[in-house]
Each structure stands twice: as structure tokens, then as C-alpha cells.
Symmetry: C4
Subunit: 320 residues, 4 copies
């Protein structure tokens, strides 16, 4: 075995440990859990450090913990970068090109942002306050471990136009409500609602139904306008979230339909051979469907088949 094949097989093992979800090695699970725990601990540390007493008391420990985290996260980032050329997605590319491609994905950028400020701070003076904020970005590394986020990102990207439109409508609604209220309240009670900026704060707080109560219309006209704005506006502001939830739910539904169609095809000959099973599992992972759901869907399809003769293509049963 030459050096290059040895490297390649180590790299493949590293890839399996860090990224490959199909062949779940026992070590892979352990490493992933350790990194998740470290990310959460970093979040907790930032929150605790903001307490000056705690920071003074445990400064040495916290600094050491930060150094330890940066080392681990740096090693993780480099290992991912090095091993990613094994990813089937970059199949047929040169290793360098695969790595550059990967380094520009959002997930890899988040990994870089998680450690870069630490190294930057060695050269440039950065206010500790802002350095802490950057350390919070490490929490975003958690997105490696939640497949559902991928579905969410797909829906968001596909509905980007609709979301932009919704934010536009919201902004116009807020500005018009704020200007109307400013005109009414300020005209009757000078000093109250003393700028459109304050009226915008009121409008956002009201239309999102947060309703702090720190700024409230006092005049009869202002309250009347407020009632109209609340009754009409609150529903309008709730629409985008409702539509997005419906779209998201539909996306999940369609993904299950795609998997179900493939299960039907695989079971059309009455058996599920290992090759078909592997192909179903890969599809299940691409679609970010929980593994338990695949097993449940196969079982229920088999149960159905046992009771009926059915059309192998549309799934509707046939007369005996």
C-alpha cells in the first residue's frame, strides 16, 4: 500500500466519521455528540461571562476553555475541509476544487466564522464585548446536526420572493400606521408620540401583538385609529407566518410522497432486496426524512400489499 492510498483511506475514514450519515460508524456518533456538547458549552460560557463577578472568579478557566474550544473547532474545520473531497457530491472534481467549493457553502462559512475572530484578535485589538458576540456565532454550528434545517432552508429559498413581498407589505403597513397615529396623537397632545420614529416603535410593537404598553395612544381619535389598526393589521401580519407554515408542511408532505412512490416501485416485485433498501435509505437521507419514518412507511406498504392485489404504479387496488 503506497502512501497516497494510505492517505486516501484515512481521508475516507475521516469523511465517514464527520460527514457520512449512511454508514454510521460508532466513533462518528461519539465525535458528533462531543462537538454538540462543546458548542452548547460555548453558548453557556458566553452567557455566564457577561456576569462580571463570575468572569473575575473563573477568568482562568474560561480563557482556557475558550482556547480549548478554538483548537477543537479549528481541527474540526480543517478535517472537514480535507476529507470533503470524498463527498459523492464533489465526485469527479479535483480535491482542491472540491475543497474550495465546500469552503464557500454556508455551513463551512459558519465553521470558519466560529474560529476566525479568535485568530483575528491576536493581531488586531477587538473590544471584548464584540468578541463575545462573535463567539455566539458558534451556536450556528449546530445546524450541521439538524436535517430539518435543510428542508426549512429549501422552503425559505423557494419562497424568497413571497417573503420579500410580505416584509415589504409589513413595512408599508407599519410606516402608514405610524404616520397616521403620529399625525392624530401629536396634533391633540403635543409632546405625546413626539416623533415618527417613536410611532414606528409603537406600530411594530402593536402589529406584532407584543404590546409592551410603554407607548399607548391616549386621545379618543388615537384609540379609535388604534382599534382599526389592531383589528385589520394584526391578521395581516400573521398571514406570512401562516402561509410559510402551510408551505413548509406541504414540502414535508411532498417529500414523503416522493419516498412513498419509490417504496411502491421497490415493492412492486413483492420483495425488498438489499440494493433497493440502500437506495431507499439514500433517498430518505437526501430528503431529510427521519429513518424511523422510512421503516414505518415500508411496513405499512407491505401490510397493504398483503391484503390487496394492487396496481404497482398508482397504488390503487384492483378487483380480484
Amino acid at each position: 500500500m503506497t502512501l497516497s492510498t494510505a492517505t486516501s483511506s484515512v481521508r475516507h475514514a475521516a469523511f465517514d466519521l464527520l460527514e457520512n450519515r449512511v454508514s454510521r460508524l460508532p466513533g462518528s456518533r461519539l465525535i458528533n455528540r462531543f462537538i454538540i456538547a462543546l458548542i452548547v458549552a460555548n453558548g453557556v460560557a458566553v452567557v455566564l461571562e457577561s456576569n462580571p463577578q463570575l468572569y473575575v472568579a473563573y477568568e482562568d478557566f474560561l480563557v482556557a476553555f475558550d482556547l480549548f474550544s478554538v483548537v477543537i473547532f479549528t481541527l474540526e474545520y480543517l478535517a472537514r475541509l480535507w476529507a470533503v473531497s470524498e463527498h459523492p457530491r464533489y465526485h469527479g472534481m479535483s480535491a482542491i476544487r472540491a475543497r474550495v467549493r465546500y469552503a464557500l457553502t454556508p455551513l463551512a462559512l459558519v465553521d470558519l466564522l466560529a474560529v476566525a475572530p479568535y485568530y483575528l484578535a491576536l493581531f488586531i485589538q477587538i473590544d471584548l464585548r464584540y468578541l463575545r458576540l462573535f463567539r455566539l456565532l458558534r451556536l450556528l454550528k449546530l445546524s450541521h446536526y439538524f436535517d430539518g434545517l435543510q428542508v426549512f432552508a429549501t422552503v425559505l429559498r423557494r419562497e424568497a420572493g413571497a417573503i420579500a413581498g410580505a416584509l415589504m407589505i409589513m413595512t408599508v403597513l407599519v410606516v402608514i400606521s405610524a404616520c397616521l397615529m403620529f399625525t392624530l396623537e401629536n396634533a391633540v397632545l403635543p409632546g405625546h408620540f413626539d416623533s415618527i420614529a417613536q410611532a414606528i416603535w409603537w406600530a411594530v410593537v402593536t402589529l406584532t401583538t407584543v404590546g409592551y404598553g410603554d407607548v399607548v395612544p391616549l386621545t379618543f381619535g388615537g384609540k379609535l385609529l388604534g382599534i382599526v389598526i389592531m383589528l385589520c393589521g394584526v391578521g395581516t401580519m400573521a398571514l406570512p407566518a401562516g402561509i410559510l407554515a402551510a408551505r413548509f408542511s406541504e414540502e414535508l408532505h411532498q417529500r414523503r410522497e416522493v419516498l412513498l412512490a419509490r417504496i411502491r416501485e421497490a415493492l412492486a416485485d413483492g420483495t425488498l432486496d438489499p440494493e433497493e433498501e440502500a437506495s431507499l435509505e439514500q433517498l430518505q437521507q437526501e430528503l431529510a426524512i427521519p429513518a424511523g419514518d422510512l421503516a414505518r412507511m415500508i411496513r405499512s406498504q407491505q401490510a397493504w400489499q398483503a391484503r390487496h392485489r394492487y396496481c404497482p404504479h398508482c397504488g390503487s387496488s384492483l378487483p380480484p
Copy 2:
């Protein structure tokens, strides 16, 4: 009739009284209503006892009522445990094994928790305050009587991964919002937002749209950030509930589809014989669909059939 057959038939009657929903004995309904009333009365008693004046005035009665409730609930727990070996789900198991299995289900654990603290307090000194909290757990015994909860639990279990992901996103959103707001507000107005803990309280109160108004950003920068957090964050926080509602609604829809498919099969020969009717009723109960809905679905299917010749398998009508 030997003793063992007598025991067995008493046990079967007990099972029918307490658990069996299909053969609703007249006594079953009475017993269930009495226990529901007792559970509700226990909840009311805990609320009333918290008032020291009421507690002093009616102490004897309340203590007696508590003793009475514990006795009833203990008898109920033991009766359920004893009779459960008749449950079709545990068919073919030894009686002991069936009881151990049942004792570990969430419903049985709730029943145990409803009485265990009382007995524990006979041996160990427990603060009255906490003892009352445990008595509140008796309210959870109500879950025996609402079939809809079963559907809800199924959806929750199936979507556990999605819910965990949503809680993770929420937590990250809250922590990042809180740290940004803490940095901005505390830098300009020292003393305001004086810890990240307080900023987290603000972030949760704001992002859930509760909006008490006890902590509110005061600086221009803080309000600007607050506006961005409200406009973007509030929708994000509302998504999980929206998605869960859509899933829940879909689950209910699918259960009706399953029942409808079976109704079509049963009516394929034009009549509904008693055996088919019993099988439909059992399915209706397994699926936690209200009994009235089954009757309505059968009627509308029969009406449809009367007007059309139709394909007995997919339900679409055929040309004459």
C-alpha cells in the same frame, strides 16, 4: 364453576367497566363520570387550599376529602392493574408480564404518581407546599378519558425530531437576540439590561409576543434592533406551532381516509353485515375518530352508491 373461572369472569367484568370502550356497560359510564368528577374536585381543592383562610376554616373536610380521593384512586389503580391482563393488546402474555408492561405505560405511571406521594409522606417529612404540587398531577389522570390526546401524542412522537429542531432554533434565536440587545443597551445606558439573563427574559417575553413591558429597550439603537427582532423573529417563533397544527390536521385527515377506505370495502357488496359493522367500529376506536363521524361517513357513502355505479376500489364512478 371453579374459583379460577369465577375470578377470571369478575376480572373480565372489571376490565369492561374500566377500560373497554367497545362494550360500553351502563355501569362503565357511571364509574368513569364519578372518577372524572373526583379528579376535577381534587384540582379545585388544591386551588382553594392555597388560600390560608379557607384552609383553616375547612381543614378537617379537606383532609378527609384528600384521604377519600387517595383511597378511591388507589383502588382504581389496583383494579386497572389487576384487570389489564384481559386487554387484547397483552393477549398471550402471562398475567404478571402483562401487568408489568402496563405499569410502565405513561398512563399507568400517571395513576401511580397521583397517589404515591401521599403514601411517601407517611414515612418521610415532605413540605406541604410541594405535596400540593404533586396532588396537582392527579389532573393528568384526565388523559384516560380523551381519545384525541392519543392522536396528539402520536403526532408529537412522530415529529419529535422536528420539535427538537424548532426548540433548538428558538433557543439560538433567543440567545443571539438577547446578547445583541445586552451589548447595545448596556453600552449606552449602564445599569439598563444589566445582565444577559435579563436580556434573555426580555427576548423570550418579546419573541413569544407576550410583551409584559417590564423590560423595554430605551436607546434608539436598542429600539431599532428590537424592531428587526420583532419583525423577523415573531414569525419564526410562530412557525413550529403552525407546522404542528398542519401535521395534526393531516394526521386526522389520514385517519379518516383509512376508515373511509375500509367503509368502501365493506360496502362494496352493497350491504353492511353485522361483522363488517363491528370491525368498522373497532377501527373507528383504534383511530380515535368520534362514533358520530363513522355513522355520517357510512350514510354519505351509501347515498353516493345509491346515485352512482362506482368502482369499489378507488371510489370513482363509472360510465353507465
Copy 3:
């Protein structure tokens, strides 16, 4: 023409004027609009009367207006009661039995409640304050004129079990949250959260996301518990409304499907004869679908048919 036929034809005209939606007489529209205006005016009058200055200034007018309203509403009630025997729903019953049946429907009871307190007050002394509240019930008479309410009522009735379950879960959630918070806050800060009743008020205000801010946890433990309650509870409380909205939307969808199936049948022979049209209109009214939607659905079905040869039963097109 004998007297009885004359009575009968007058009664039929009265029925057409008041209740029949299909043969919309020109007078029917006018009468309905007048009654709607009178109902709204009654609502406005109750609100204005609550202002003592306005009441004193316009007492004579308001008393006269109330008398006028009661007379009109009484005549309307009696006319509806008298004419309802013409309703196709009560076809084949004796006139008396039809009227008793109608008098017990929710709509007729609302009509009765709208005037009964006035007559009752002539005999018994009723506090003016409560008399006004009863007059507000006249607003419910508006339900005669909104077909959508019928769909809403159908969904509510069909989902009554689910709604009862949801209210039960909400109540348990509220009581448990309240008792936990009472125990935590009251133990640390005696005097704060000084009864479970107050804690229940806090829990309802928080879990519905109203968030007045009049009662707020102050201790660290209380705030931590509050965060958990808000993050988990707020979504749970929003679920029932989300599910109900989904069900309602599905009911509307199904009603359209039923109408569409009938339109396809009617158009299967390529033409829409007047008899078919009348039957479609009646179905459209039974299903509470707007008349404009029926016209639109017929047009789009005809356009589709012009472009395709299609299966007259399932609507899928056929190969040429």
C-alpha cells in the same frame, strides 16, 4: 279564491320576503337591509347610552327608539313564525308542528331573546344595567344574514369533542403553570403572587400571549420557570386555533368539491339546461358557497371541456 287560499298565498309571499334566498324578490332585499340597519343601530344605541351625559340629553329619543325596535323585531319574529310553515324543510308537517320546531332552532331563540326582556321588564323590575346587556343580544340576530356562520357552526359541532379536549388541556396547563409559579414566587417573595387565583390570572394572561404586565415574576427561579412556560406553553395554546382553521378550510374545500362534482355531472352532456342550473343553485345555497363562485366554477369547467375530451365522471381527460 277562498280565504284560506288567499291566506296561504300571502303567507307564501311573506316567506319569500323574509326567508327564501333562491327567489330573491326586490322587496326581500330592502326588508333585510332595513332590519340589518336596525340591529346595528341598536348596538350603537346601547354603547352610547352607557354615557350618562348622552343618556340624559337624548333619553326621550332613546326610549322611543327602543320601543320602535321592539315593535319591529316582534313583528318580524311573528311574521317568520307564521310564514315558516312554507319552508321546504318542514314540508308535510302540520303548520303548528312546523312552527314549534322552528321556534326551538337557535336562530328563532335568538329572535325571541331579542325582544322578550323588554316585555318581561313591564311586569318585573329589572336593573337597567342588565336590561342593556340583554339588548346587546339583538346583535346576534345578524346571524340570519351571514351564510358563512352556518359552515362555521357545522365545523364547531363536528369538532366539539376536539375543542372540549383542547379546553381541558388548556385548563390543566394553566392550573399546573399557576401552581408551580405560585409555589416558587410566593416562597421567595412573600406577598408576591399572594394566591393561586392571582397566579391563574398570570398564567392565562401569559399563555394567551396577552401579557398585560400587571403581574410578572420577579425572582430568578420564577423568571426561569416563566421562560419554560412561555416557550412550551404558548405554542400549545396556539394549536387548537390552528387545527380549527385547518378543519374549517378543509370543510370549505370539500363543499366546493361536492359542488364541482355536481357541475361535472350537469355538464357531462355538454349543455346546462335550466333545470340543472336551478338544482346547482339550490346546492350552492345549501352549501353556503357564494353565488359568484358557482358561476366561476361553471365557466372554468366549460372552458376546460372546450379544450379537452374528458371522462365525464372523474374529470381526467382522455387520449384523442
Copy 4:
């Protein structure tokens, strides 16, 4: 080339620049972006002007900017009006009739309202305060550029009856809640909830879950009533938005189905000739579906076809 043909071709170019979405000229994009930027800048200017200091400091610039905006928007309005006779929708009408028709569409009225107050103010004295409000209407010009709004408007128009019903229910709910609360609170604590108007303000603030906390029930009875109103009313108020979101999502779904059916027809012969592509693009624009979605749908349909023999009419695959 005669003058009239020259005019006609210039007019056609103007139409292409301003309105035609299919043949996106490079200049069209530039002009649209410039106008969008100008609209947004006008919104910002109105907000900034409300600050007296800023207004005094930059008065000359702001007045000049307003003049500039009015000139551009007037030119835009006239150009659209002149060019609109080229629009396929008005094909076969005389140019004058097409322009009058267009001038009465909501979009054209918004364009007119954006500039008309400026010209009006040259003749009549209008309070600067209200003039500013009219200038805010320029923000509505943004609706030219968001296709999603068209879908939204369609849903709103189609569901107008349901929305009117929902607003009616809301109003009745608010008035009844307010009167009940007024009667309860005012009877026990005179001076508190001292008019139904204030009780209505409380009811709207509560039922929309805004919850400022400026008016809050204080008596035990008032709080009990408040709890009932919150638990039942809050869900009811959230229903209309939920139903509207579901309808909106269904409308988007149906539009995609229509496009998909046309894609299937176009691909039935296995190829997509340019004529079919143009017709699909036009449909995609009529339906306000993003262009990227059309491409994606065509690709996925082609991929499906490559794997299956399928029925060209219903899309279900056929046995080999």
C-alpha cells in the same frame, strides 16, 4: 415610415420598458429599479421630515427632492397611460377607451393619488401635516413590482364575504365582551372602566393579544370574566387569519397545478418546442409564479418522463 407608425413603435417600446414582463429589455430593469429606489426614498424622506430639526436643516433639499419625485412620477404616470393601449388585455379597443379603462384600475389610481395632492396644494391651502400623509401613499406604488400581491388581491376579493363575516363576528365579540366587562367592573369599582368606549379599547387590546396593560380588570369577577374571554375569544380572533392563510396557500397550490397540467400537455410528445415554451412562460406570468419555479417544474417532469412511461393526461405511470 409614417409618423403614426413611428409613434406606434415608440409607444410599443415604452410599453415594453414599463409594463411588459415577458420581453424584459435591459432598460426596463434599470427604469424599474430607479423608480423603486425613488419610492423608498420618498418614504424615508417623509419619516425624516417629521423631525423638525432635520426639516429646518435640510428644507431646501427636501423641497427639491419632493419636486423631483413629483416630476418623475407624473412622467411615469403619463407614459404608462399613453403606452397602455399596447397591452394585450385591451386588444381591439380604441386607444382612448383602453386608457380610460386603465386609469380606473386600482394600480393607476394609486399612481394618480401619488402625485395629485401636490398639484392640488398649488391651488388649495392644505395643512402640511396632511400633505405628508398623502405623500406616504406613494409607497403603495410598490405594488406594481410584486407579483405576489396580485395573488393576494385575488384571494381577498374571492373571500370578501368570509372576511366581512369574520369582521362582523369580531365586532360583535368585542362589543359583547366590552359591555359585560363594563357592567361588572364599573358596578364594583365606580370610576374604573368608566365608559363602554374604554371597555371596547380594553376588549380589542385583549382579544388581539396585544395586551398593553394600560386598562386591566381589578375585581375578582372582572378577572374571572377576563379569563373566560381570553381563553375563548383569543382563538376565535385568530381563526380568520388562519383560514385566510390556508386559502392563500391553496390558491398558490392550485396555480401550480394549472401550470403543471399545461407542462404535462406540452411534454406529452416528448419535446418542448419554442412555441410551447413561450406559451408556458406567458401562463407562468399570468399566474404570478416565479420564473425559477417553471424551470424547476419542467426539469422534474422531464426527469420523471425519462424514468417512466406514463399517461400523458393524468401523469400516472403505466405498466411496461
